[in-house]
């Protein structure tokens, strides 16, 4: 898979199995799956729309993946992200990192999500009973990404 941006829904279990299948040197796979939840900031969500910047999106994700591969001894790293209209409870994002031992896969998966949250060109628009609105960026996401500026495999 490596990098995929798609409007179609996906099955995280099938994606995980595909990451492991065909590579017997994989000893550990860490995955993160993000879902559309029903409540955000006390408002009931009916639907979510994900806008992106075609052209830049896959390039930005590839850059984040490359950086993870440079920082940790990974066998591979995969990022899958939905765009367009999403229904409640559907998976939005799937990240999988594989390695021989678990440490690298754990750290790299977290790193990829932290960087994706602050550098990949996606924007969420929520549909609630009172209309649609853009989701605001969070400073806590910027803080989470910033800690990797000084932290890498040598110090973790």
């Amino acid at each position: 898979m490596s990098i995929r941006v798609q409007t179609a829904p996906f099955d995280p279990g099938a994606e995980l199995n595909a990451v492991h299948a065909g590579n017997l040197s994989v000893g550990a796979v860490v995955t993160f799956t993000g879902y559309v939840r029903d409540i955000n900031q006390d408002q009931s969500i009916q639907e979510l729309f994900l806008e992106h910047y075609p052209g830049m999106t896959e390039k930005a994700l590839a850059k984040i993946r490359d950086e993870a591969l440079q920082r940790w001894p990974l066998i591979d790293a995969h990022i899958l992200h939905r765009v367009g209209p999403l229904s409640l409870a559907e998976p939005i994002v799937f990240v999988a990192t594989s390695s021989i031992h678990r440490e690298a896969a754990f750290a790299a998966c977290e790193f990829i999500m932290d960087y994706l949250k602050t550098r990949a060109p996606f924007w969420k628009k929520e549909q609630t009973a009172s209309g649609t609105h853009w989701v605001d960026g969070r400073d806590s996401d910027s803080d989470a990404a910033a800690r990797w500026d000084t932290t890498n495999k040598e110090t973790r």
Partner: protein
């Protein structure tokens, strides 16, 4: 020429997805272009967002990044994917 893209909340506020601007010799950084656009007044004040993000040729950069004629710029609000 310079191609400028606007995304998400900015695209809606400006009712503009993309614009071609004739190159101006005094432009040195993305912030110079941002200020040129803000000077149009009205809805363009949306680009005064203190948390504005930008990209040069489809790579995230800072407002202080230098640019040249022919580049593709993008201005967008903080990203909210994942």
């Amino acid at each position: 020429m310079l191609t400028v893209q606007f995304l998400a909340r900015y695209r809606e506020a400006l009712n503009c997805e993309s614009e071609q601007l004739p190159w101006q010799e005094e432009w040195q950084t993305l912030d110079d272009v941002r200020q040129f656009l803000v000077a149009r007044d009205g809805v363009w004040a949306v680009l005064n967002d203190p948390r504005i993000m930008c990209a040069l040729n489809q790579d995230v950069c800072s407002l202080q990044t230098p640019l040249k004629a022919g580049d593709e710029l993008a201005f967008f609000p903080m990203v909210t994917g994942g």
